[in-house]
Subunit: 217 residues, 2 copies
């Protein structure tokens, strides 16, 4: 027999308006904790941040972190996943107005490399290797990243009559893998990124080739 545990949204026998107010307040606290966690983890890493510090920055109690997320590590993975998906939306937006495949890749690459979310997410991926209990969330994030990337790429290519060398799912996977790898190499080595080489690498992975210009203007 499965035991039903009260979820954060459960309100027992409270009147309906009270229940709604409680749910709203819970959602705000949860969101504030994720914001504070992303900010602090980005600045100081997993080891440099305490539950109490995150709670204080979000104007909450340490017990609320445990209540909403279970552990500091789970909060880390959830915050990093959320930041990564927000970063992906900004990357898609950055490519929206580009007129050529090269400009498209340049705009998206520049946006992605400037975003601290990629390194935070790389950290969360490495953490989950030793924490199988936290993998489902990170697996869902990776899956959504690829699905959304494929959707964005399909739309963009259809709108501009660009031809991809491989299926959009494959290209989206290659795009994020290249960027995660590059961010990791750069963060570790401290070497400045050569934007030309990065763009060429991503453009290669993307598999699009610019159309020959119709005329030189």
């Amino acid at each position: 027999v499965a035991t039903r545990l009260p979820s954060p949204g459960a309100t027992g026998g409270m009147p309906r308006h009270h229940a709604r107010a409680t749910r709203e307040s819970g959602r705000r606290t949860r969101s504030a904790l994720l914001d504070a966690a992303a900010r602090l983890f980005t600045a100081h890493g997993l080891g440099g941040v305490s539950l109490a510090g995150i709670a204080a920055a979000a104007d909450a109690f340490p017990s609320q972190v445990t209540y909403y997320f279970g552990s500091k590590e789970a909060l880390f993975v959830e915050a990093a996943s959320r930041e990564m998906l927000h970063a992906a939306a900004r990357v898609e937006e950055a490519g929206r107005r580009a007129g050529t495949p090269t400009a498209y890749v340049r705009a998206m690459t520049g946006q992605a490399l400037a975003d601290s979310a990629l390194l935070l997410f790389a950290d969360a991926l490495l953490l989950c290797r030793h924490r199988p209990d936290l993998r489902p969330l990170v697996a869902r994030t990776v899956e959504r990243l690829h699905r959304e990337g494929a959707r964005a790429l399909s739309e963009r290519c259809a709108g501009s009559a660009w031809v991809l060398a491989a299926a959009p799912e494959v290209v989206a996977r290659a795009f994020w893998a290249v960027l995660l790898g590059l961010v990791l190499e750069t963060a570790g080595s401290g070497a400045p990124l050569d934007p030309t080489a990065v763009e060429a690498a991503v453009l290669g992975a993307l598999g699009t080739r610019p159309h020959p210009p119709a005329r030189r203007t």
Copy 2:
């Protein structure tokens, strides 16, 4: 005024044959420590291994770890860098007998993804982000990885008359970035790698296109 510290190779006024024996023994100890460190760090991670444990596994004293490497973190980065360069040599070897660009990428990708060195090196890269003192070694490793990759790729393409879509340096950088990113995503999410998608992604990054077959057999 700079102070000269005795280096592991310094032998003071010892007779020449004695000095050579000491250097040899030092080299062997150093190598045994790196082997033990790579094995233990791969199995248990940086936090799960002690200096004393590494020394015991290499039949050495903990003080020798400090003497040769300075700290556990420095040993971690040096061991991971050495493993990564060995893995790269095996990857190059795996591609040596492939007859087509697709087979070449398939052989190298399969070899790279089966090698635990990539994840170990990803871990070393993330560690160096917070340890600028350890960056020079990891930066040299990344630089050498790209240089050796470009050399191998140039030789292989020249030998088979394959045409690259970009400079070998760019293609080599994209190759390792894609693989580091994929290994990270897979290790974190626990999702099984789809070899077809991986090969297509790496083939795209490689920028080679198979020659159209001369005839169907």
